[in-house]
Symmetry: C2
Subunit: 248 residues, 2 copies
């Protein structure tokens, strides 16, 4: 856990601002965000950022890197709720209730903007547009969850795998993290299995099935989407709704 002091990114130069999917922020908003931001948290791989049952005083926006949000049962079974990518916001639950009901762990080194929970109220009080953005973000992550629940509850194994892979690919592409049809995947098949509610073995076999159908190519550490349209059809993936997303 290291909080860089002078080498911090100024919000002016926020790397995410360049991406066209993010809405433009006014100078006043930017000034407030800069005041709101208390520092940066640079993580290693495998760092626990938020822990179920604890009470974090921070909120975070992901500047770079991948992570995942999960819950566990007493005997160790784990369900990955969703993957966390740049631009995602986390920790709001801790500010609304007293305890985190889920954990978050990094999959790569990450850079997180840190916001203190105490100032959250002043954001609502003084910057309704940013408060609105937070609601937007909360709604969006609910949408992701809805999709995942539909997957895990009602899609077959091959449909599920097709769905997550395509979904991750599309999210990553919006963030300019893809190279043509290739995407670096910073997690193992075990993570995939835990996000899909499948066993590791069956996840592996299902990846093979997708490969032999020539829809994807999976090499540990990366995927290539060979046939986006067919994959979308198999996955029942509705190409998603677009709105400019907020930056905070």
């Amino acid at each position: 856990m290291s909080v860089a002091a002078p080498t911090q990114t100024r919000c002016q130069q926020c790397p995410l601002k360049r991406l066209e999917i993010f809405r433009a922020v006014s100078p006043e908003e930017l000034a407030f965000i800069e005041y709101f931001k208390s520092g940066e948290f640079v993580t290693e791989v495998g760092t626990t950022i938020l822990l179920e049952g604890t009470n974090s005083p921070h909120l975070y926006t992901v500047l770079s890197g991948w992570g995942f949000r999960y819950k566990s049962l007493a005997d160790g079974r784990r369900q990955i709720l969703n993957f966390v990518l740049p631009g995602d916001f986390m920790g709001l639950q801790g500010s609304m209730f007293n305890e985190m009901q889920h954990s978050v762990e990094s999959l790569t080194p990450m850079v997180l903007c840190v916001f203190p929970r105490d100032k959250l109220w002043s954001l609502y009080a003084k910057h309704p547009s940013l408060a609105f953005d937070l609601t937007w973000l909360a709604s969006r992550s609910e949408r992701l969850l809805d999709e995942n629940l539909l997957s895990v509850g009602r899609r077959s194994a091959i449909e599920r795998v097709a769905f997550v892979l395509l979904d991750l690919f599309l999210r990553a592409r919006q963030l300019a993290l893809t190279q043509n049809n290739r995407l670096k995947i910073p997690f193992t098949q075990q993570h995939l299995a835990d996000s899909l509610g499948l066993s590791l073995v069956h996840t592996n076999k299902t990846l093979n099935a997708l490969t032999s159908r020539r829809l994807i190519r999976w090499k540990p550490g990366a995927i290539e989407i060979l046939d986006e349209a067919k994959l979308a059809e198999l996955a029942n993936h509705e190409t998603s709704v677009s709105t400019l997303r907020p930056l905070i």
Copy 2:
């Protein structure tokens, strides 16, 4: 679809206000809520309140009655995302994106407070405390979804059934909808199955299993919780976090 004109509930007399789980609202907040509210929507059983793919101009708070939120796949498979009870808020996704990504249908006659989407912004601008409440509500429903996803992804059939039933029972009890250990259940086993990602037949058999373990008693239309503690243990149900919930 009938919108009662003069017989509307004044927010002063909102039936939910009596329940101690809801936070007290100030007179100013109450006045705004009354201004925000554009009417009431009284539904029949089986009414589609929000429909996936459409664009509703309204937001709703449930005053009374039960409903459920769901998504479907092209071939008709359906996943119930969660059940909707009094005090729940819905339709926010429609205001954040342009299209609903899920549907909502009533299980009983319902009374809904209707709020026009256009005035949402003025809520953020003028009543940050209420804006905060909306975020609270969004967070809460994310929490419910997290739990469900964990269930569907990682719990066995009997654990899942135990979990939903207990969870519904606890939610209903907070709303004073239970009688001792009994709760009227306004839906069929098919609904239960669709919320759990199980087949109808297996759901039925699992209900029997819980009955013969003497944990519950299920009669179509009602359940009785015979052993709350054992049920909670089987379900891995962490007795939930409490905060006063907002009313809007």
